[in-house]
Symmetry: C2
Subunit: 281 residues, 2 copies
């Protein structure tokens, strides 16, 4: 029977460390979140970020725009925030209305404040193995594996999903750990044959219970990132109850990767704060 | 018996097209190559680039520096070339002396003229599936596979080697083609088990005959990028004579990927020329 990976506990530990560190700062670190429209899920996610910031003493600046806002207005605000010496992190809450050019907007966020790690420069730096901002969910997954002392060097890692938030950055992060990395997605033929070769399997697709007990190797480490809502109930990409009988370590659908994403976001804000204030961390 | 992939022929075709196109330009496109030191292999590679430029009518500006040149001097020259409206491509010939910061120098090349596709922004753009400059060898491999009508969607692609010139950019390029991509390297355990799953195998390590006939699946497509010199003789990463009996398509060690790299470089210079002169291509 596999052991559960407790993302909530590690996330609390990280938040506690940040909280203690921030107590010693004269000026509060500040995260600015730009939200466009009134998407219900986005409201929940933004709310969770605000709550976490409040917990640790990071000032939360919520900039909420009407769904019809012009791209130019958002970009002007970003330029203003880039130049604001009291703002350490700028985040564009996704998704945004499809008439706006998401990547073009994100590329206006200066690299040091791009706490989601999504602008071209940060993506390039990660790919080039240079220091930069790393997308929070991907960073959180690596941090969890480190915490649980999961060996990565030479191991077969299979990632299902190739999003810029999770799958793509994980390729670079796992290669840096000297793992052998395979990326699968909706067009992959015989997915199960491939997932069964994984020592570490990361699933980030948003398809309810895509992975069952017949899709994994005995004693694999299984990280479930996906969230999908079916008939008002929330499901992961992994059928945890079934898979945990075969896996050695597995994240629960709730309290696994999710809390780590927020912890890594706070951690990126602090990283920027130190850089901007030339303190050490 | 596998068919040989003729990179020389396709490269000649591309160069012929460029030559015809350049004939219609009033001002010649220009490629500036910065070489530091007098490395023998670099002299050969720079010479090949010069020859190719001359063949198609691209003006070749060779800037050769002493091995003791200061980084600042190189960067100042790059800034000058960035601002020069007659220079369309800037390339830093690698390797450079280890006391100089390679990536920092490359990041000074403006993205549009970064014809090697190595600066952080171009790397990020490729990763984010946005238009930009693509590293020449990687682009050349995809072009060869397209020319030979090799299906990529849903196929298992195995890349051996994770360099920024070949392996890393190929991950993004093959994912864009909807292939399932596995990246192996020196730390990969049981390499042969993995290469045997490949429908398309790309080997870019510089280890003589790393791949033999027992390492591939029947009818695989095999792309050999590596070059190594043992006792004055040049070898590929693939034991071609042996592997071609099992593969369906295979590049020869000479006249396979090599000529494509140069053709893609010329093609990137022309791409920049069009962009700078707002002509269409």
């Amino acid at each position: 029977m596999g052991k559960l990976i407790d993302g909530k506990e590690l996330s609390s530990k990280i938040k506690e460390e940040i909280k203690n560190e921030v107590k010693g700062f004269m000026i509060k670190p500040c995260l600015a979140v730009i939200q466009i429209g009134d998407d219900e899920a986005s409201n929940v996610y933004v709310g969770a970020k605000e709550k976490a910031c409040n917990e640790v003493g990071i000032y939360f600046k919520h900039l909420k725009y009407d769904v019809n806002v012009l791209e130019k207005e958002i970009i002007n605000k970003i330029i203003e925030l880039n130049n604001d010496e009291y703002v350490n992190g700028i985040l564009l809450q996704l998704p945004i209305p499809s008439n706006l050019n998401e990547q073009r907007i994100i590329n206006h966020i200066t690299s040091g404040k791009d706490v989601d790690g999504l602008n071209d420069i940060n993506v390039g730096r990660l790919n080039n193995n240079k220091e930069g901002m790393i997308p929070c969910t991907a960073a959180g997954i690596i941090r969890l594996l480190e915490e649980y002392e999961v060996p990565m060097e030479g191991k077969n890692v299979v990632i299902v999903g190739r999003s810029k938030l999770v799958g793509k950055p994980l390729i670079s992060l796992f290669l840096k750990k000297d793992a052998t990395v395979t990326v699968c997605h909706s067009k992959t033929e015989n997915l199960s044959d491939i997932t069964k070769t994984a020592d570490i399997l990361v699933v980030a697709t948003g398809s309810k219970w895509l992975i069952g007990k017949n899709d994994i190797k005995e004693d694999a480490v299984v990280i479930d990132v996906g969230v999908s809502r079916v008939d008002g109930k929330i499901y992961g990409d992994v059928n945890t109850d079934e898979v945990k009988k075969v896996a050695s370590l597995i994240t629960p659908s709730v309290g696994g990767v999710g809390p780590m994403t927020v912890a890594m976001l706070l951690s990126n804000v602090i990283k920027s704060y130190h850089k901007m204030n030339k303190t050490t961390n």
